[in-house]
Structure formats: structure tokens, C-alpha cells
Amino acid sequence: MSAGWIAIAVIGVATMLIKATGPVILGGRELPPRVLDVVTLLAPALLAALVATQVFGFGRSLVLDERVLGLSVALVALALRAPVLVVVVVAAAATATFRLIA
């Protein structure tokens, strides 16, 4: 088996198991209130972490580039109560424009 296929198989099986663990063990059951208190806050914690790393992260370094400007435009759109789709489109368009200028 080639190196590529070993990687594909191991990563595929591992990822499927990681994704399935919660639903297979706990699927369809309501979580205890104490756990739910914590899990409810997983969304803001992880979403904020994804935003932060996708805006400032470049591999293992932190950088300031056009993405910050694009996301700033997105923030303005959010403050103006723009719908999600508009926010996403203006962020991409602004980032592309700033890159073109830079």
C-alpha cells in the first residue's frame, strides 16, 4: 500500500470516528442540564476561535493582512443589521479589493 493510501485510510477512519463519537454514544438523548449549560456555550467559544485564527493565523504565526480589513467591513455590515449572506459577500469582496490594491 502506498504512503498516500495509508494516510487516506488512517485519516478517514480517524475523522469518521471523531465525528461520530458524540452522536453514536449520546445520539437522540437530551443532555443533562449541567452539561447543556456548558455545551450551549461551545458555539460562541468555538466560533470566536475560528474567526480569530482564520483572520489572524498564517500557519503558526499571527499576521495582520487584508483579511482584517475584510472582516472589519463585515462587522460594519453586521452593525447595520445586514443579512448573513450580505455580510459574507461584502467580506469576500472587500478582502479581494484590498488585495488588488495592495
Binding site: L31, A45, G70
Partner: protein, 217 residues
């Protein structure tokens, strides 16, 4: 599952499918160059279905890195799906196989779209996940078969589309004080750790921000 929720999820995912597809094609190209072959590239997208981990693994092998390094990097990048899986578990009922297979449709974007104030909507999750899955696998195939990307996704600003989506969905959750604290903790943990630990671990560690929920409000 009310099918209207499924349709709503699919519709909500369409704009992101464009961005996901724009990255699927270069992934297919990279995977072929990394020695996966066209079939291997498609099999990886169909089984792993997690863009950042796939790009990391293929890049490492393409640069001549060890299989073990590629595997460890991909698993670390996907480790966040363990807590994410717990968060969607209450709405993913059904037989063992059904739960196992539906769990595979969970990616950052479908999870974020299905999120309703910390709880999740099954129809939205499956509808969005199905659209993104089909897009990711089919565009990987296009790239692996040699289609040139329509354009450089980065030049089109498409890499900013994902954080903008996550920011918009986060925005709606910042009304409650504990949500704000969890968000600040999550972002801070991720940024502080980024220079010091392998990719993926900062996001996994950031999920600890939700432990603020243990405090009595």
C-alpha cells in the same frame, strides 16, 4: 425531520458551497500532486470531509513529509469535532448506523448554520451538510481530473468568506453575558496558543471557553 427545514438548510448552505467548491478544486490538484491519485483524492474528500485537515495532510506529503506527520496533523485539526459532535448529539437520533452516517455531515459550516442559540436544528444541519458534502466531493473530483480552478480562491477573497460566516453567526449569540465571556475566552485561548502548539490544538483548547457555563448565572 420536516423537509422544509432540510430545504432551508440546503438553501442557507448554497453561498458557502460556492466558496467550498472554489477550494475543492485546488484540493484535488494538490492531492494528485501529493501522490494520492484522482481516486485517492476523491476517497479522502468523501471519507474525511474536512477541508483544513485534508489540505494539511496533502501539503505535508507533497513536501516529502512522513505519513505519520500528515496523520497527526489531520487528527489534531479534526479534534474539535469531538466536542462539536457532543453538541449536536441530542438532535441526531435514529439507529446506530444512521447516527454514525449523519454525524459525517457535520462540518464547521453546517454546524454553524444549524446553530440556534446553542441548540441545533436537525433539518438545517442535514440539509446544509448534504449540499456541502456533495459540493466538496464533486469539486475535488474536478480538481483531481485536472480542471483548472476558475480563479485563485484567495484572490477572490473567498478565504475571508468563512470567518465572515462564523462572525455573523457568533454575532447573534453575543446578547447574553456568558456567551460574550465564552467568545472572548475562546478567541484569546486560540490566538495565544497559535504560535506555540501544532495547528488544530488552539481550536480544540478554545472549546474550554464553554466551561464558563459551569458558573451559576
Amino acid at each position: 425531520m420536516p423537509s422544509s427545514r432540510f430545504r432551508d438548510g440546503a438553501r442557507a448552505a448554497l453561498p458557502f458551497a460556492v466558496a467550498v467548491g472554489a477550494f475543492g478544486i485546488p484540493f484535488g490538484l494538490l492531492a494528485r500532486s501529493a501522490g494520492f491519485g484522482s481516486l485517492g483524492a476523491v476517497v479522502m474528500s468523501a471519507t474525511t470531509f474536512a477541508g483544513s485537515a485534508q489540505f494539511a495532510a496533502a501539503s505535508i506529503l507533497d513536501a516529502g513529509g512522513a505519513v505519520a506527520a500528515a496523520v497527526v496533523a489531520a487528527i489534531l485539526l479534526n479534534a474539535r469535532y469531538a466536542p462539536i459532535g457532543v453538541s449536536v448529539a441530542p438532535v441526531l437520533g435514529g439507529s446506530l448506523w444512521k447516527r454514525f452516517l449523519l454525524a459525517q455531515l457535520v462540518v464547521d459550516e453546517s454546524w454553524a448554520i444549524a446553530n440556534r442559540g446553542g441548540r441545533f436544528d436537525r433539518g438545517l444541519l442535514i440539509g446544509a451538510g448534504a449540499v456541502l458534502y456533495v459540493t466538496w466531493v464533486s469539486t475535488t473530483a474536478l480538481g483531481a481530473l485536472g480542471a483548472q480552478a476558475i480563479g485563485d480562491p484567495t484572490a477572490l477573497g473567498l478565504d475571508a468568506a468563512f470567518p465572515a460566516l462564523f462572525l455573523a453567526l457568533l454575532w447573534s449569540q453575543l446578547r447574553e453575558r456568558r456567551g460574550i465571556v465564552a467568545a472572548v475566552l475562546g478567541a484569546s485561548i486560540a490566538l495565544v496558543l497559535t504560535p506555540f502548539v501544532p495547528l488544530g490544538l488552539p481550536i480544540l483548547a478554545a472549546s474550554a471557553g464553554c466551561l464558563v457555563g459551569l458558573r451559576r448565572s
